[in-house]
Symmetry: C2
Subunit: 193 residues, 2 copies
Amino acid sequence: MRLSGTSYAVLSVLDALGPATPYDLKQALEVSVQNFWPIPHTTAYAEPERLAKAGLLSVEQEPSGRRRKLYALTDEGRTALRDWASGTKLSPPQVRDEGVLKIFAGADPQPILEDRLRWHTHKLAELEGYLEAVTGKPEMASVRASLLVGVGYEKLIVDALASYVRSAQTATAAPTDQSLAGSAGSGKLRRRS
Amino acid sequence: MRLSGTSYAVLSVLDALGPATPYDLKQALEVSVQNFWPIPHTTAYAEPERLAKAGLLSVEQEPSGRRRKLYALTDEGRTALRDWASGTKLSPPQVRDEGVLKIFAGADPQPILEDRLRWHTHKLAELEGYLEAVTGKPEMASVRASLLVGVGYEKLIVDALASYVRSAQTATAAPTDQSLAGSAGSGKLRRRS
DNA sequence: TCCAACACCATCCGATGCGGACTATACTGC
DNA sequence: GCAGTATAGTCCGCATCGGATGGTGTTGGA
């Protein structure tokens, strides 16, 4: 069976959380892993099932009420997680940003970057909130470490965007000529000959 | 018919490129849009077909040889592209980074950040190469603008990582206690009661 | 001249990602 | 014990994704 980054994300959260229902898992994902590894909400239900089938998680039914399933790491699951985390192979990081796509398509960068500044400012505050919630908990050290990376990253972006937006340089302003046709140069991005 | 960010990515590249085969499209995507909006190679074949069916692209068969298909923007396609680019709605930016995921899982941050420093350094050089290839081409202004954003972004990351790696602080070092179990606090990331 | 080898180009397939819409269950105040 | 709301979970259909494979043209060497 093939384990994806998403599989390890689920294992990690379960490791930090202890036995949890899919819903617990979903909540925890939303305030942690989501920030650097997007996961759709349905995965919080589908993935544990797959992992349990592979023997990496144990399942236990709640005895009363909703009789929800409680998933927990097995020893095998813990081993798989540690092996992956200590391995040196890293898939390349990805960014997906519709704003840059619009700039590529010819939109005026200014309002887009201003929008992004607002967004990243909010995100920074959000992450700082999470960070505060795990201070003084040595057992959450790795969660804290990832949050520190996240906060550092957002600070970087916010500072850069803020200084750009403030000075609103014309050097990177929107192109006045939107007819991109006509290039026949030797660049990497070139028209057919 | 529903247009995704990927649809607009294809339209944008076709707009910059002029009439192109799926393969041309794939090549162009790889050195431009890929850097801020990941697209699998098969999409370069599947998406134009969908867009053509929706009337946003025209199709023309090569008369000789492989008789490949040449796709080009229709007026309708150009309008759709402009409308989207000038609209103010932006989906939130996403980052997907297995390195941070590993740090979250308890891995030692140091080697991961060093790996990332190398990766971003290469990426920065790559983007600067693309940038050079479009200098002095006013019809490529928007491509250049997006590259400037990309270069600025990578520079930011490289600088930050470099200074971090150099000083290798212990404040964010790997957690020595990996047994994350036991937390029963009131943080956002908490165990079941 | 012809063939082998390679580079280029394209499609297929199964698995997973993805999110909207919907359903079901529990809690809360009255 | 009921209405309304918050919580919890499922379903469905389509898009994404990448590995694998299969064609097609080109090049160079005997």
